[in-house]
Subunit: 137 residues, 2 copies
């Protein structure tokens, strides 16, 4: 995805596409590993020496408000960010700590969402052992 397209995406959501915001957003799009704010910060420090943690957080909030990312709170300690806003669940392995995506059956959201409530966000979290950690057990 070109920078131009990214910039247009941000603009279309009312976010002016600054260098820092583009850097954060494109990092998220390129790394589907559910990074934390600090992980993103550490990675971008190298290329953008003036990048600050606060900017990472500010950008995350802006992207979140614009519906461009999902904040994963399956880990109580720290938030993880995910630029994939399509329907999917998150699995956390209690052994290795890794976060995995998993598919949700079609229409899960519609079936599960409580009636009478206006549901804006929908998250499915599972916790346990990933295949690898089951094996080394």
């Amino acid at each position: 995805m070109t920078t131009q397209v990214l910039a247009d995406t941000l603009r279309s959501r009312g976010i002016s596409p600054t260098q820092q915001r583009l850097a954060v957003y494109s990092y998220l799009l390129a790394h589907r590993t559910h990074p934390t704010a600090d992980t993103v910060y550490q990675a971008l420090c190298r290329d953008y020496p003036t990048m600050s943690r606060t900017t990472v957080y500010n950008t995350m909030r802006a992207l979140f408000r614009a519906g461009l990312l999902r904040i994963v709170t399956i880990d109580a300690e720290e938030q993880h960010f995910d630029a994939d806003t399509a329907d999917h669940g998150h699995f956390r392995c209690t052994q290795c700590g890794e976060l995995f995506d998993f598919d949700l059956p079609a229409d899960t959201m519609r079936q599960c969402a409580p009636s009478g409530f206006q549901t804006d966000l929908f998250d499915v979290y599972a916790t346990g052992l990933c295949p690898h950690c089951q094996a080394t057990h």
Copy 2:
């Protein structure tokens, strides 16, 4: 539920039923409002003047490990505790901040859980506007 029954429940899970633990657990059973650690602490302070926040946290961890409660992380700021371990979803209203329970369609968990993973915990979170806050909008 009598104190005796509660004590037996704890004992059967390998948790010795101290005064403090019984107080915390019975508070959770009586108040299905998904309280935070501080809410529980503030409430129990009156009757148990020596109760400490650390004890509340310790007890929550013990109950959680024993499978007697669920830790709700839908609110990134602080954890909420729920003694109802039966299958149900949690809804958070972004306006009033309240947490609501909602029913999940039967077998949701089985249908949604990713294959190949050993799923120990399963949480469904929805966020948006509760019926009341939709009305006052």
